[in-house]
């Protein structure tokens, strides 16, 4: 990229010249577009996980009404205006998950917790990270993980976000809107030279700790060396990140298309804000892959529901069912506004973000303690999957990973399999 090296040369010579690219995110976009041979708009992927499942009777459409002309059930009613732009799929599950309280741990991985003898916990790479490996090269952030401080009560299970790296280790997330906003948009006010010096200093820190890590490594047996390998991998990840930061050093972060969030947003307001940030991140092409592990406990509180999230998930006829349905409705309303925004945000070629985004909304838990027929809703035309349908799969326990595989292929990640996938999901593929 000649522009960039020229920029670096200029700054190294101590000259600050504002190239046109310097002041707008347009340049970043051109960079990205240049990297995309087809010249098409970049694809985006977003996974929204809601932990405890849904209210079975009022969230799922009637299985007898497969196809395009199904009646939207109560829990999905707020999405009415988008009905032709999303698809609900029934019959997907992760065959290995037996953890009735883990709605997110294996949702995107399909892993078997017990598959490694001698270990009581194992996981594998999540679908978003596979996507990030293909879509993340040209953006400031390969992927962004969003989460919430309200994790314990929200039925997600172990993990630091929805994302797990290539070795099945948890990837941490940005747990509040303020933090996410700053990561994405806060400008570094230091002069370039000082930022370069800081970067160099950070590299030296890595060199130093690596020196100690090698001392420890020399004296370890194999199993421990594997554990220390996590440390080495962390350092490598930071090095990759630093290289990326260096590459982007002279390119200012985009101006934020949203207001800086207030401190202390919780529940509904928090989710709404995170959704705005998702749109803002895509719009500025800061990243193309986002996961969001949504809060449930604080959502209930913000709806003035007095039951604990787990108790709501075990709804019984009466008050708790009403609470469970209120939660479904609130979540669907929020999702509907996210889709509104994706549709309203125009790309330079006149298309909308919605045209280039694939959005997945769901959980590994269906309802109560059920892990089959995982609630799954997809929207957005980014992966070329069929929209406006209610798909009821003939095979009742089709691997969720078949959908992830179809989606990954759809956004250009030509992997052959993912997790326990047995193939792509022909039912969602167009034509």
């Amino acid at each position: 990229m000649p522009d960039q090296s020229r920029r670096r040369f200029l700054s190294a010579a101590g000259t600050m010249i504002a190239l046109p690219a310097f002041e707008s995110w347009g340049w970043t976009r051109r960079l990205a577009a240049a990297a995309d041979n087809s010249g098409a708009r970049p694809k985006r992927v977003v996974f929204l996980g809601f932990g405890w499942g849904v209210t079975n009777d009022t969230w799922f459409p009637d299985v007898k009404q497969a196809g395009g002309s199904y009646i939207l059930p109560e829990g999905l009613k707020p999405l009415e205006r988008h009905k032709s732009d999303f698809t609900v799929i029934q019959g997907l599950s992760n065959q290995y998950n037996n953890e009735a309280h883990w709605g997110s741990t294996f949702w995107l991985t399909g892993a078997n917790r017990y598959s490694e003898p001698g270990q009581s916990f194992h996981n594998s790479i999540s679908a978003d990270q596979v996507a990030a490996a293909h879509l993340g090269a040209d953006t400031r952030f390969s992927s962004i993980q969003l989460g919430s401080e309200d994790v314990k009560t929200s039925g997600h299970g172990p993990g630091l976000s929805l994302a797990w790296d290539a070795r099945g280790k948890p990837i941490s997330g940005l747990d509040n809107p303020v933090g996410a906003f700053h990561r994405l948009f806060s400008a570094d006010s230091l002069p370039l030279e000082q930022r370069q010096a800081k970067l160099a200093q950070r590299r030296s820190v890595l060199d130093a700790v690596l020196s100690d890590a090698r001392r420890v490594e020399r004296k370890l047996n194999r199993g421990d060396a594997d554990k220390l390998d996590e440390y080495f991998q962390s350092i490598r990840d930071i090095e990759v990140r630093l290289s990326k930061e260096e590459q982007w050093l002279s390119i200012p972060k985009p101006g934020a298309p949203v207001q800086e969030p207030h401190e202390g947003l919780a529940g509904r307001d928090e989710i709404r804000m995170m959704y705005e940030l998702i749109v803002a991140a895509f719009r500025t092409d800061s990243t193309r892959v986002i996961t969001y592990r949504q809060p449930v406990g604080t959502l209930l509180k913000s709806l003035s529901i007095k039951f604990a999230p787990h108790d709501v998930s075990h709804y019984l006829p009466g008050e708790r069912t009403v609470a469970s349905q209120q939660r479904d409705t609130a979540q669907s309303e929020l999702l509907a506004t996210l889709i509104d925004q994706l549709k309203a945000t125009k790309e330079p070629d006149g298309s909308s973000l919605f045209d280039h985004t694939i959005l997945v909304y769901g959980s590994n838990i269906r309802t109560i303690h059920y892990l089959d027929n995982c609630p799954t809703l997809i929207a957005g035309r980014g992966a070329g999957l069929k929209l406006g349908e209610h798909i009821v799969l003939k095979e009742k326990n089709t691997p969720l990973c078949n959908l992830w595989l179809s989606l990954l292929n759809g956004v250009g990640a030509k992997v052959k399999s993912h997790g326990d996938s047995t193939g792509t999901l022909s039912e969602v593929l167009v034509g």
Binding site: S211, D212, V216, N221, G223, K227, D372
Partner: protein, 856 residues
Amino acid sequence: MMTSKQFLISMVLLFSLVSSGGASDVTVATMPERHRAFFKNYCVDCHNAETTEGHLRLDDVSFALDSVENAERWQKILNQLNSGSMPPKEAKRPENKEKTEFLDDLAQTLVKARKSLSDVRGKITMRRLNRREYKNSIRELLGIELDVSDLPDDRGVGGFDTVGASLFMSSDQFEQYHALGRRALNEAFARSALRGGDKNQQRRTDRRESEDLAKRVVRGTYNAYYLGGYKQAVAWRASDRSKPPSDFGLTDETEVDYRIQAFEKYGPSYGAYLSNPLSDTGSLLTSYSVPDEVIAIPPDSPSDWDKTVREPVPTGNYRLKIRIGAIAPKPQKRIFVEMGTRTSNVEFAFQRSFEITGTLPKPQIIEVVVSVTADGPRSFVFREKRPNIPGDEVFLNSIKQIGVIPDPDLWVDWVEWDGPLPTPAEHDLLIQIVGENVSETTESARAIIERFAARAFRGRPPEADFVDRLLSLFEASRKAGGSFEESLKESLSAVLASPGFLYLAEEKGETESRELTPIELACRLSYFLWSAPPDERLLALASSGELSKPEVLAQQVDRLMASEKSREFVTGFTHQWLGMDRLDFFQFNAKLYPDFDESTKAAAKAEVFHTVEHLLRNKGSLSSLLKSDFVVINGLLANYYGIEGVTGDEYRPVSLPANSPRGGLLGMAAVLAIGSNGETTSPVERGAWILRKLLNDPPPPAPPNVPQISRLEGKLLTARERLLAHQEEPQCASCHRKIDPIGFGLENFNAVGVWRTEDRYVKPGVGTKEWPIDPAGAFHNGPAFKSYFELRDLIAAREGDFARGFSEALIEYALGRPYSFSDEDLALRLVAQAKAKNFSLQEFFQALVASPEFRR
């Protein structure tokens, strides 16, 4: 035919049998043979070699669950049976009883198989410091209490937070460690005498007569807002209304109405406060109308709402004092004050509570030392202990009942803060490392870095290459114009992010299981009993080789346990062992249980910890946790339990009358509240908890996909009638027949542990059902009990099972690996040794530390 993987596993098994002297020969989980008939009768007709229905063949399934693949097949069988879908309706189906037995055995066998297949066979994975240990290690190194809430709490995957295999590391976390280390260093330098020749000059004492602020705020609000607005509104109404309300200072007619209403509603309360003569000499703590007593460092001026930008004050410890007395002590109402912090986000974050024994004529002075950090809270709130209901709700209820705010209970004479207090020399750890009047040269930087790294690495000197690189960080910073101190921090913060500090690495020897070096042994011991690094004494004993002598090691166990620092073990271990995090999973309904407020909940938790600590320090028996004739409580809990004669905030042992339901875990409010959902009791939670934690007979984890029974909801039934439905379906009965009866034995305690003899179920629009509690029941295939007391006796008689479960937990916690079959021999030895000493709690620790397993 044996796959290569299976072959390997068998070889490993063989090896472990030989090496452990044949102690564990039951490591393969096997489904009992008697169930072959069940299989033949109901499964194999469809799932065989010819007709592999659902791509599943079951005629060749091995009854030994000796591989992950085999276990997986059985898991599928269990799932199908649980979901009720197999055998299909049109096929021959088993009787309920038969199915129940099959499910019971299969679920247990699978748990055993999972445990066996994930058995690490004595291997301890090198591990990172967990969040608690990290915090304590920073404290021991720098004397700083660091806020580590941004780090993951390391309790995700089940098991203890000391289990190495689950302690992950990521790039984000590395950067967090680096940043946190930097923050700790900033604090340490700021507090150290190194920079603080002027510290004493910065020290300030600020005493404020409470009435100054309180009266000003109340009078100001009353006169300017309520009374002032009321007068304007009345004046406009009395006018001929030719002029708009805005000429009278009010926006519009809506505001006129609002101001009149507001005055009528709130005015009398403000008036009552101002006309109380005590408000001339102090502030009155009432539930709402006055701001709670706040000590802000530096003070708010004049109060929080005008968003005064505060001047920065030096970080450090500050002493807060508050002179306070009860206004009209009533013998039936004991008075407590709760203290919390206030930040821009959180109105009140509970910290601790105080019993008030001072009176108007004889006030008492509450004294607390708090730590003020660069970004921690600086406002400290004192208020009367109150239910978890928003303040205005309390206020409005009172207005509804008596027209004004409740009479104040407490009068505050003055409040004071004093600080920063000089850091005592022995806490100024940094100066020990940096040295006084150090010359600001590269040579002295090198020496400082070496000393610091050696301490951070717990007695292991850093290598030269590492120090060189750290020094180059220092030099680069110096070159860029950084001060000596700033540049040092660059190097030292890197030490705090390096493996030597973050990991408890144990070097390998020639064989896989060699003896720990003395330093490693010291580390394992101190992280076990303190969750913190070894102190100088322990390191010295390690260096001299003394620690390897059994009698010295035993003395050190006693010394470490006698130290205050062992509280870290008590809280960290006990909290996880007993599953106490459930207490924070839900809100307790403040309308149903107003007394179970923040203060009470905290005290109830503390009771568990103080009881364990009491037993540890006084050669108490583990069995006292099942039943005892004493409790370890403070005034607040005594008040809650209705026990007379206990006043004050410290926890102490108190004897119980013979007929008391308290004494032992089963009578503790915290344990009983764990077995609830914040609204009602949960006999299932309670029963399962007892099986898991007390009787060492854990039920399998709640299975997925079991159909829920909901046909009974809305009907007016007793709790017992409702749960009887569990016995109808084999999928439920296989576990619940063991769980539920035990849980019902505790029904005399309500959701927050208060004794009761009746329960009720209210269904709005349908009616109310009340019934007397009937705790009678029987253990599955075991003895019957008529009352809670009989149940408690039956449980107390099983002290051997309890000791076994405790031993397993202790082994897992101490050795940092999941407990498994290869540890059975060790567990047996622990129980035997402790039993010989009447299950003395201390003895478990001595036995474990003395074992060869602890030293490998």
